[in-house]
């Protein structure tokens, strides 16, 4: 027994030692932190009330291609008129070909005024009678036909479903997926308006109430795992919230910690994660929340180049889906942590930091060249620090001070100090 006591005492003493700078003692009462958050919220609400400029209003010298949400009937009629023109062309003996907007990186542009990547209007022809493109052309025709069926029957399918309708032709899901993006470019509509969705990936928990297909969902009462973000954003409506901010989390593990500790009850917030690279549904959902609830978005990602990259995908869109960046991006995301400067500031022990690999460093240096990083001097500074120190750390590195350090000390202190960029 005595032995056990001693051990416990040793454990408790080491507990206090593990907080070397006594960060915990620096914490002010929650009420004062809440005040700063309220100020943040009202500031963000006023700033976002001014509508962001649209692409056409900027009068840029080059032409751009953007897609929009189209109702099902217009998707159907677009496909039908396309099919008619193809049939005419075949019957006239000219074969057929598609004009597909190029999604190569040369055809993409970061527009600082909009803070997102957009697609220029270059497109390439995809003729049937060419060995190089015959395969893609055939798959495109087949996907068009499948989408047409979906629009007739008004149902949703997943990308996997779509792939399995003609495995022999598609061979590989990545092929049908990429052609699907091409098709939405050709038709000029978002991928969600094609009625093809990806399976659920993102989850949300916290002070949010919304209706999913008519059912009211209260995200504080969804248990620890939270509510899966519906793959089909049309189902989501009637968002209400008393949260002060949205906390975007990169990793499932950190999300679990925050959800289990009911972080959103201490500081009213909505916690979202896409478990790594965000899918379309999560990005749409985040944008919808931000636009409707006018909440500031704070991001908690790993201190490595990929963390920042994920941040950038939420913020300015991915190159692959740049044609739809207008609907997918959420501007003005604040980088809360874990930032490279935090490693020293919060005395994260050496054994929890990892050396960056060659590819990590290269990715970091490439990111420094990206416009969306350059526009934020704070980010450039942080990234420079990361590349220079050649060290990275995951959110979990904070667990070295105790599993709940993240929720009890780190995040409150960060919020209190308004330590976001």
């Amino acid at each position: 027994m005595a032995d056990k006591k001693k051990r416990r005492r040793a454990a408790s003493s080491s507990d206090s030692e593990s907080d070397p700078l006594h960060f915990k003692s620096k914490l002010k009462p929650d009420s004062s932190i809440l005040q700063t958050l309220t100020a943040l919220k009202s500031a963000s609400a006023s700033s976002s009330s001014s509508r962001p400029a649209s692409l056409s209003s900027l009068n840029l010298p080059t032409a751009f291609r953007e897609v929009s949400d189209l109702p099902l009937s217009s998707v159907q009629s677009t496909i039908e008129s396309l099919a008619l023109s193809l049939a005419h062309s075949i019957l006239a003996g000219h074969g057929f070909s598609f004009s597909v907007p190029s999604r190569a990186s040369a055809n993409q542009l970061y527009v600082p005024e909009l803070d997102r990547i957009v697609l220029k209007d270059k497109s390439s022809s995809r003729p049937f009678a060419s060995v190089a493109s015959v395969r893609k052309t055939t798959i495109t025709a087949r996907i068009l036909q499948l989408i047409h069926q979906l629009s007739l029957k008004n149902i949703h399918v997943t990308k996997r479903d779509l792939f399995y309708t003609d495995v022999k032709l598609f061979q590989d899901q990545s092929q049908s997926d990429s052609i699907l993006d091409d098709v939405s470019c050709i038709l000029g509509c978002t991928r969600s308006s094609l009625n093809v969705v990806a399976s659920e990936k993102g989850v949300v928990v916290g002070r949010l109430i919304f209706s999913d297909n008519g059912d009211m969902i209260d995200c504080t009462k969804m248990g620890m795992g939270g509510k899966a973000i519906p793959p089909n954003i049309d189902r989501v409506a009637d968002m209400q919230s008393d949260a002060l901010f949205i906390l975007l989390v990169e990793k499932d593990a950190a999300y679990m910690r925050l959800a289990e500790d009911r972080f959103y009850n201490r500081f009213p917030c909505i916690i979202v994660t896409a478990k790594g690279q965000p899918d379309v549904a999560t990005r749409l959902f985040l944008r919808k929340m931000k636009n409707e609830l006018k909440l500031p978005v704070l991001a908690l990602v790993d201190s490595d180049p990929y963390g920042l990259k994920i941040l950038s995908v939420y913020g300015c869109g991915s190159k692959n889906m740049s044609y739809d960046s207008a609907n997918l991006t959420t501007p003005d995301i604040k980088w809360l942590g874990v930032r490279p400067s935090d490693l020293d500031k919060y005395k994260i022990p050496e054994q929890c930091r990892l050396p960056m690999t060659e590819t990590d460093i290269k990715t970091g240096k490439d990111l420094l060249e990206e416009d969306f990083v350059k526009k934020n001097p704070g980010w450039v500074e942080e990234l420079n620090l990361m590349v220079k120190s050649k060290q990275k750390a995951e959110i979990q590195a904070l667990s070295s001070f105790g599993f709940q350090y993240l929720t009890e000390v780190y995040l409150p202190l960060k919020l209190q100090q308004k330590d976001w960029l």
Binding site: L86, G95, V131, T138, R142, L144, Q145
Partner: protein, 659 residues
């Protein structure tokens, strides 16, 4: 204590104790190394008199009975069978018989079921540890050896390396001596040498072995014989323990690669089995006689490598001391000026001035103290010298390498490249590369052929700079070469006054020398670039043939997709859910009345494909020109005429004056 041993041990003893260094690890490898040493000596000998080499090498198996009679040992019948290792105990016999019975049973069953009966596989006789012996004979048309020098050339191992520096074939400069030591160790039989020099009326015959302990030749016979046919060259016959079965492929690979790098030589390789012909049918696993001829493909020989002096940055302390001991020059200035390359008179004077006040140009070079020599060495390391030129090297030559590859591999495509001389640690080196695609007896994937100073390297391939470069640093797909599927032959020949070998057996060149690694990479890449355009053309030609087929394959899929949409539309059009105008309405009407069916679309699209194919074929034909007739290779053999000629040697050519 160690020192003491080295003083007592003769060089011959040292090599006898450490024979693995020279490539005599096990009987199999001993046979291989003996062959290679003899072949390389023969090539050197023929090249030394600018004679196109003709080399015959014969390996003759010697059975135990024959061997015993050769050494004068009576054959002993086994009395106590159980004493021997290969004795079959009762238990083992039972096991074997049971296995054989089982095998026969399955055979019978298979036969009853009408299945193809497998040829009865040979039951391997229990492995015997008994040694096998071989007589290796190598005959060349080289210079031959002076009659009186023969005993010392074979029977004495000299430990000191040669004065001066030269690109040489051998790795240790031991040649046949090591083989002689091995024969002494394994069989005790002497070596036999016939030799005759050009213009001599006699030939020499010598039978000798080596006294390993005293490092002197032990001569049995040494006599002059008549030489009627005015033959010149050498024939060396040696009996050693070996292992043909395990090293057969290595020896054949060696001969083949040697034929690639020396296409101006003619090789005749023979293996004679011990078992007489009629026994072959009875024997279950016979070792067959074989005879392989590697024909001469060119009579252009690379010039003999020239002897050169050391480059100041290539010497170490010991070497400086040795040069000082051996030099004929009196003072320091002359020593620096004449014993090193790239040191002129004024340069030498500046160097001496830089050495310090203790040095003067006129000081006697032999009186230098150890400290002073260290100072010279230091300065050699720090000072700047011009790079040594590659003139003293004798690369295989792009032309010869190309012919060698074509001759031995018969590839579909070949490219060669010869780099310029570069320098590593004061030694010049030249990298040449060849790249072949396709060919006979070539495996799929990368086949790396490595040559150092014009001899093939066969062992420890994985760590070699050439293998590493070819496997890791060349992006084959850039050049439209499929690393896994195509039959790629990579040939890299490196020549240098000093090849930086790695490993105990000097079997590979390390990957850590960036100068060599980058030169190898450039050479291979240059070959790749040459091949790329040819490959692209070939792919285009293939695409040309397959275009129609690959397009037609997709017609049903594409038309059915479009037709399905049209069908849906026509039904909704008929129900007046949607209105279409003009030709669209007409088309939909045709669809609903079955005037336009999927078959119509298919037909039209097929017509279009046909037309496009025709146009592209026409375009291709105008670009590629008229189809070339398949050409047949013709080789023009040289006239076998005897000329009296005077030869003048230069680093880059041999000038023959025909009288």
């Amino acid at each position: 204590m160690l020192c003491f041993i080295f003083i007592v041990e003769s060089p011959a003893e040292f090599f006898a104790d450490n024979k693995n260094i020279a490539g005599f690890d096990n009987p199999g490898k001993c046979l291989y190394t003996t062959v290679r040493e003899l072949v390389e000596n023969a090539l050197d000998s023929a090249e030394a008199i600018a004679e196109l080499p003709v080399i015959e090498i014969t390996i003759e198996e010697i059975g135990r009975n024959k061997f015993n009679s050769m050494i004068g040992l009576a054959n002993h019948e086994r009395v106590d069978e159980a004493l021997y290792d290969d004795f079959e105990t009762d238990k083992a016999r039972e096991k074997r018989l049971a296995k054989e019975a089982r095998f026969q049973e399955t055979q019978a069953k298979n036969a009853a079921l009408g299945k193809k009966v497998k040829a009865p596989t040979a039951f391997k006789p229990t492995k015997s540890r008994e040694a096998s012996y071989y007589r290796v004979t190598c005959k060349d048309n080289g210079r031959g050896m002076p009659h009186d020098d023969i005993p010392n050339m074979f029977g004495r191992v000299l430990s000191g390396t040669k004065y001066g520096l030269k690109q040489t074939r051998g790795k240790f400069g031991l040649g046949a001596k090591m083989a002689l030591i091995w024969s002494k160790m394994s069989t005790g039989l002497p070596i036999e040498i016939f030799s005759s020099m050009k213009g001599h009326t006699f030939s020499s015959f010598c039978r000798l072995d080596i006294d390993i302990h005293r490092n002197i030749p032990h001569i049995h016979v040494h006599e002059k014989r008549e030489n009627h046919e005015r033959w010149h060259g050498a024939e060396i016959q040696i009996v050693i323990e070996g292992n043909w079965t395990t090293y057969r492929s290595k020896i054949l690979h060696y001969m083949r690669q040697m034929a690639v790098i020396t296409p101006y030589a003619q090789f005749l390789f023979k293996f004679l089995s011990e078992s007489p012909e009629y026994l072959l049918f009875l024997c279950l696993n016979p070792i067959k006689n074989m005879s392989v001829r590697f024909a001469r493909r060119t009579d252009i020989m690379p010039p003999a490598p020239l002897e050169t002096k050391y480059h100041p940055s290539a010497v170490d302390l010991l070497l400086i001391k040795r040069l000082i001991a051996e030099t004929s020059k009196q003072n320091l200035l002359q020593f620096l000026q004449h014993e090193f390359v790239n040191v002129g008179k004024s340069h030498a004077e500046r160097l001496i001035g830089e050495m310090g006040p203790d040095f003067s140009p006129k000081m006697a070079v032999k009186s230098l103290t150890s400290q002073q020599i260290v100072r010279i060495h230091q300065l050699f390391r720090q000072a700047k010298f011009d790079d040594p030129s590659g003139d003293c090297l004798s690369p295989a030559g792009e032309y010869n390498l190309r012919l060698g590859i074509i001759k031995e591999l018969h590839p579909d495509m070949v490219a060669t490249y010869s780099g310029s001389a570069q320098v590593f640690e004061g030694h010049p080196f030249i990298v040449e590369a060849g790249l072949s695609l396709g060919g006979k007896d070539v495996k799929q994937g990368l086949n790396v052929f490595r040559f150092a100073n014009r001899i093939p390297l066969l062992f420890e391939q994985g760590a070699d700079v050439v293998t590493r470069t070819a496997v890791k640093r060349i992006n084959w797909s850039n050049y439209k070469i499929n690393q896994a599927q195509d039959k790629i032959g990579v040939f890299v020949s490196i020549v240098s006054t000093k090849i930086p070998f790695k490993g105990t057996g000097k079997e590979y060149i390390g990957d850590d020398i960036s100068e060599i690694a980058s030169a190898v990479k450039t050479a291979i890449q240059q070959c790749c670039i040459q091949l790329k355009s040819k490959i692209v053309k070939r792919i285009q030609a293939r695409e040309q043939q397959e275009r129609k087929r690959s397009l037609n394959k997709y017609i049903p899929n594409a038309t059915s997709a479009i037709y399905e949409i049209l069908k849906e539309m026509s039904s909704s059009h008929a129900l007046k859910r949607r209105r279409y105008e003009g030709k669209d309405a007409e088309l939909l009407k045709q669809v609903s009345t079955q005037i336009v069916t999927e078959g119509t679309l298919r037909e039209k699209l097929a017509q279009h494909v046909e037309q496009v194919d025709y146009e592209m074929a026409l375009e291709y034909a105008t670009q590629a020109g008229v189809n070339e007739e398949p050409r047949e290779d013709i080789f023009i053999p040289p006239l076998e005429a005897e000329y009296e000629c005077t030869e003048l040697f230069s680093p880059i050519f041999v000038f023959r004056l025909v009288a």
